[in-house]
Symmetry: C3
C-alpha cells in the first residue's frame, strides 16, 4: 500500500449497527472516520446523516427526533431525513447550502449497512453474504465489540487460524491447527483458506458441541474454511464430524468442499464483519450460527458468551500488536507461509483503495518480503 493511502476504501458497504440497535432515538456512531447519526423513520426505514449541525457543528445526536425530522439541540435547526434543513429560528429564508450529508443505507442479514463513499456507486447487490445470521435453518447470536486496532489486524487474525493454538489453547486451539496443511486461493473480491484435520482429538469446545449435538465422543475430522470478502467481511465454516464418515472430501485440501458429507457432524459459521471506526479502531461485529440443537436457548446463550470469551483473548493480542506497531512505525514485516490468506486479503483491500485514489503517486511503496 502506498504510504499516503487510506487504510480502507470508502466505496464499500460497512456494517454500522445490528438492526436492533437502531430505533426511534438518535444514535451516534463513527464509521471510516465519519461521524454518523442513525435513526428509524416512522415507516421503519433507517436514515443515516452526518452527525454535525451545519450551523455550529453540534452533534445532531444530541438533539431530538420528531417524526422523520431531527432538531438540533443547540439552536433548533431542523433537518429532514435527507439531510436538508427545513427550519431555522428567527429566519424565514433558508440558506440553500444548509444541509448535512445523508448516506446510502441497506438493512440486510441483521445489519444496517452504510456506504461512506460515492452514493452513485452504492449497489445493494454488493452487500456481503451473511445470510446464516437470519436463516431459519441456523440458530445463533452475536455481539459488537470495539477494538483499539486497525481493522486489518482483525482480518489478518481471522485469515490465519494458526493463532488458535497459541491464543485460544483452552477452548478451540490445538496443535493440529498449527500443523495441518492448508490451501489458500483467491478471486477478484474474495480469498479462501481451507484446512482439514483428519482423525484427531476434538479440542474442548468442539468435543462439547458434538457430544451435545450428536451424543458422540471420539476421534473427529475437523474443518475450517475461511472466506474473506473485501474489504472486511470474513465468514468461517467450521465444525467437526465423526472421524472417517465422509466430512473430509476426497483429495482433502485439494478436494471439493461441496462434496463434504457432514451428516455425522456439527457445523457452525463464524460470521465476522469489521468496520473501521478510525484508522486505529474498529467496530467488530460477530455472530456464531449453528445447524444443530436449533431450539435450545440455553445453548445459544452459552455459545454467545463462550465465543465472546474467545474474542476477548484476541482483543488483548490485537491491541498489543497495534501498540507495538505504533511504537515501530517503520518496521518492515516479513510474511510466513501461514500468512498466505491474509496476504491475499491485504492485496484485495489495497487494490480497492488504489482504484479509489487514482494512479500511484510517487510515494514510496513499503515492500513486504516472504520468509525463505
Amino acid at each position: 500500500m502506498k504510504a499516503d493511502q487510506r487504510p480502507f476504501p470508502l466505496n464499500a458497504w460497512y456494517a454500522a449497527a445490528y438492526d436492533v440497535e437502531v430505533g426511534r432515538q438518535l444514535m451516534a456512531r463513527t464509521v471510516c472516520n465519519q461521524k454518523l447519526v442513525m435513526f428509524r423513520k416512522t415507516d421503519g426505514i433507517v436514515a443515516v446523516l452526518e452527525d454535525a449541525c451545519w450551523h455550529r457543528l453540534l452533534p445532531l445526536s444530541m438533539g431530538r427526533l420528531e417524526g422523520d425530522e431531527v432538531t438540533c439541540g443547540y439552536h433548533g435547526l431542523v433537518y429532514n431525513a435527507q439531510g436538508r434543513c427545513t427550519h431555522m429560528p428567527s429566519q424565514e429564508t433558508l440558506n440553500p447550502s444548509a444541509c448535512v450529508r445523508s448516506y446510502p443505507v441497506v438493512e440486510k442479514h441483521r445489519f444496517v449497512w452504510v456506504w461512506p463513499g460515492d452514493p452513485a456507486k452504492a449497489d445493494p447487490a454488493l452487500v456481503p453474504d451473511m445470510h446464516w445470521n437470519h436463516d431459519p435453518e441456523w440458530a445463533g447470536d452475536g455481539k459488537l465489540i470495539t477494538v483499539k486496532c486497525d481493522y486489518r489486524l482483525v482480518v489478518d487474525n481471522l485469515m490465519d487460524l494458526t493463532h488458535e493454538t497459541f491464543v485460544h489453547g483452552s477452548s478451540i486451539g490445538q496443535r493440529a491447527v498449527a500443523e495441518a496443511p492448508f490451501v489458500a486461493t483467491h478471486g477478484d473480491r474474495t480469498a479462501t483458506v481451507t484446512r482439514w484435520m483428519e482423525n484427531i482429538d476434538a479440542p474442548p469446545f468442539w468435543a462439547g458441541q458434538i457430544k451435545q449435538g450428536l451424543g458422540y465422543e471420539g476421534k473427529v475430522d475437523r474443518w475450517q474454511i475461511i472466506r474473506f470478502e473485501a474489504p472486511c467481511t470474513v465468514v468461517i465454516d467450521v465444525g467437526v464430524a465423526e472421524a472417517g464418515t465422509g466430512a473430509v472430501p476426497s483429495g482433502g485440501n485439494q478436494g471439493d468442499p461441496a462434496l463434504s458429507d457432514r451428516r455425522r457432524g456439527v457445523n457452525g459459521y463464524v460470521l465476522n464483519t469489521i468496520t473501521p471506526e478510525t484508522d486505529r479502531t474498529c467496530h467488530y461485529f460477530w455472530a456464531f450460527a449453528r445447524n444443530y440443537c436449533l431450539g435450545e436457548q440455553r445453548l445459544t446463550h452459552q455459545l454467545r458468551e463462550g465465543v465472546a470469551g474467545i474474542f476477548r483473548e484476541d482483543e488483548l493480542v490485537l491491541e498489543a500488536q497495534q501498540a507495538a506497531m505504533d511504537a515501530h512505525p517503520d518496521h518492515q514485516f516479513y510474511n510466513l507461509n501461514i500468512d498466505a490468506g491474509s496476504m491475499w486479503a491485504r492485496r484485495l483491500i489495497d487494490g480497492m483503495v488504489s482504484r479509489e485514489q487514482g494512479p500511484a503517486s510517487g510515494a514510496p511503496v513499503i515492500p513486504i518480503r516472504r520468509a525463505a
Copy 2:
C-alpha cells in the same frame, strides 16, 4: 481573525478568582496560558506572581507563604510579593536576573482581576461593570466552573439566547425566545442584544419567581437585554412583569429600556465573565443577582443551584461543540440572523487582538459568510 492570532487579547482585565478564594495560602491558577500563584499579603492586598521558580521551574504554589514572601518548595529560594528573589541557599550574592514576573491586580465587584499583558496599560478604570455582585439593592450568589472549550464559545452562547428553547426547555426555555424579534447594536467595546416578549406564559423558572416575588400568576411580559463588554464579560438583564403594566417600553425593541416600568415585575442580572485558561479551556465565573426577596437565604441557595443546573446543560453543549470543531479544523461557519450579537462580540475581540499583534500579516483570513 488571522489564522496565526491568539484567541484572546492580553491587555485586558481577566477575573482570576472569586475574592473569597484567595487567602493566606498559595493558590495556583492558569489565565491566558500563564500559570499564576496568588495569595493575600498580610495587609490583605492580593499579590499575583508567575508560578515557576526562576531556578528550576518548580511551581511556587508548591512552596510556603511566610509573611509576604514565598519560599520555593524545592531549594528554598525566597521571593517577595513583587517577584524579586531575596534569598538563595548557600549564597550571599543574588543573581540580578533572579525574579519571577508579577502581575497587576485589582479586586473589584467580588472578583480578583489580573492583567496578563503590558503592565503599563493596566488601567483599573477598565474593569468591567459587575456591581450587582455586591450592591446591597441586589442579592445573589455564583460559582466558578471550568469548561473545556474556547472562552469565545461561551460568549457566543450567551449572546444568543435562542438556545434556551432547545438546551434549557425545562426551566427558562420556551418557543417565544426563539421566535420573538430582537435588536442587536454595538459600540466600541460593547455589543447589546435586546429582546422583548409580550403577553406570554412564563416558562417554569420565571413563573416560580414572579409568584414568589409578587404573588402573581398569569400572562407576563418578558425581557432579555444582553450586554457584552470586550473581551469576555456578558451581563444580562432578565425578568418578567405582569403583562401590560409598562415593562415593555413603547416601541419595544426600538424603544428605550430606561423607560421600562418594572414595578410590577421581578428583575435579575446574570453576571458572566469568562476567563481563558488555555486556548481550549476557560474559567467561567457566573452569578445571579435579583432585586426581590433580598433577605431570603433559602431562595439565594435555590437560585444558585438552579442556575448551576442550567449551566451544566450549556457545558455539555459547549464541550461537544469544541470537540466537533477540533475534529473539523477547517470548517467554514455560516452565520444566521440569530448570530448578530455574537458576530459583533467576535469583531470586538478580534479588533483587540489585532491591535495588540500589529498590522495584519500575510496569513490567510478565514471569511465568515452570512446565511442568505
Copy 3:
C-alpha cells in the same frame, strides 16, 4: 548537551530489575526506550531479549516460557535465549533474519544490569559499586519506583541535598543542610559532594536512629558524602555521631573522609541507581543500608517504609518539575552554588553521550550560565 542528543548514553550498565523480580516467568520492562523481556533460564542465569516478535511485533512477554525458550503468544514462533528463532508453524525452513535482539546481562549487587548499547563494549567491570546492598556487614532493603521525569532530574535532586530542608522538613531536613558549606570534586566518571555539619541538633530521623543504635540523645556531628558514578548511580554515605568524637575529619570538608572516626556514630548508605525508561520517565531503584542493629527486622521494615515516604515527597517535586519543563521547552536555566555537584554530573553524562554520538554537529548548544 546538543539539542539533538539523546538524554542518556547507551553504552552503560543500567539496572533493569531487582534480582528477585526475575524468575521463571516472562517479565516486560522498558530501558532507554527499548522494550525488554526478561527471564531466568533453567540454569538460573538471566536472559534479556527484545520484547517484540520478529513476525508481527507482539510482545514476547505475552507468550510462554518453556525450558530456555520463549514461544510467541500469537502464532507460536519459538526463540531461544540468544534470540534466534528455532521454530515457525507450518514451515520447515526458517528465515535467517528471524531473530530478536539479545542483551548483555550481569547480575551483581542485587540488581540485574543490562547494556543497551554496543555489546562488544559491555565490560562487567564497569558495573557501579553498590556492594552495601548485599554485604553482610550492612543490613537494609529497598524499592523500585517509576517516576514520570527525565532520570537526570533525579540525579540533580540527589547531588544537592539542600532540598532536604524544604522537601523533607519533617524527617531529614534541617536548616543546617542548606547552610553548611560543602565541597564538590570530580574525576573522569565520578563527582563527589561532601558536607559536614558539626555540633548540631539531629533532625527527627537521625535523632531516632542514634538513640536506637547507641542509646544517645544530644548534639551530633552529621555528614553527607554524595558520590555520583556516571551515568546514573548515586551512593550517599550519611550518618550522625556524638558531637566531637572524631567523626568529622580534621580539616572538615577539606579533610580526608577516610580519617573519620565513626565509632560513636550510626552510618547508612543511600544507594540509588536511576534507569531511564523513556526520555521522560525513569525506574528509580533505591535501598537504604545501615551498619547498626543488623538483626532487627522491625527496624529494616520501618526504615524501608520511612525512606519510601521521603522519596514520595521527592516524586511530587520531580514530576511537577518535569511538567513545568515540558511547558517551558526553551527555558534557560541558571545554576547556583548549590548546583555544583549536579553540574559535574551533567557534564559527565553529556560527555558519555557526545562520545557515543560522534563529533558535535552544527546543532545549537544551550549555554548554562552560573549565577553571579
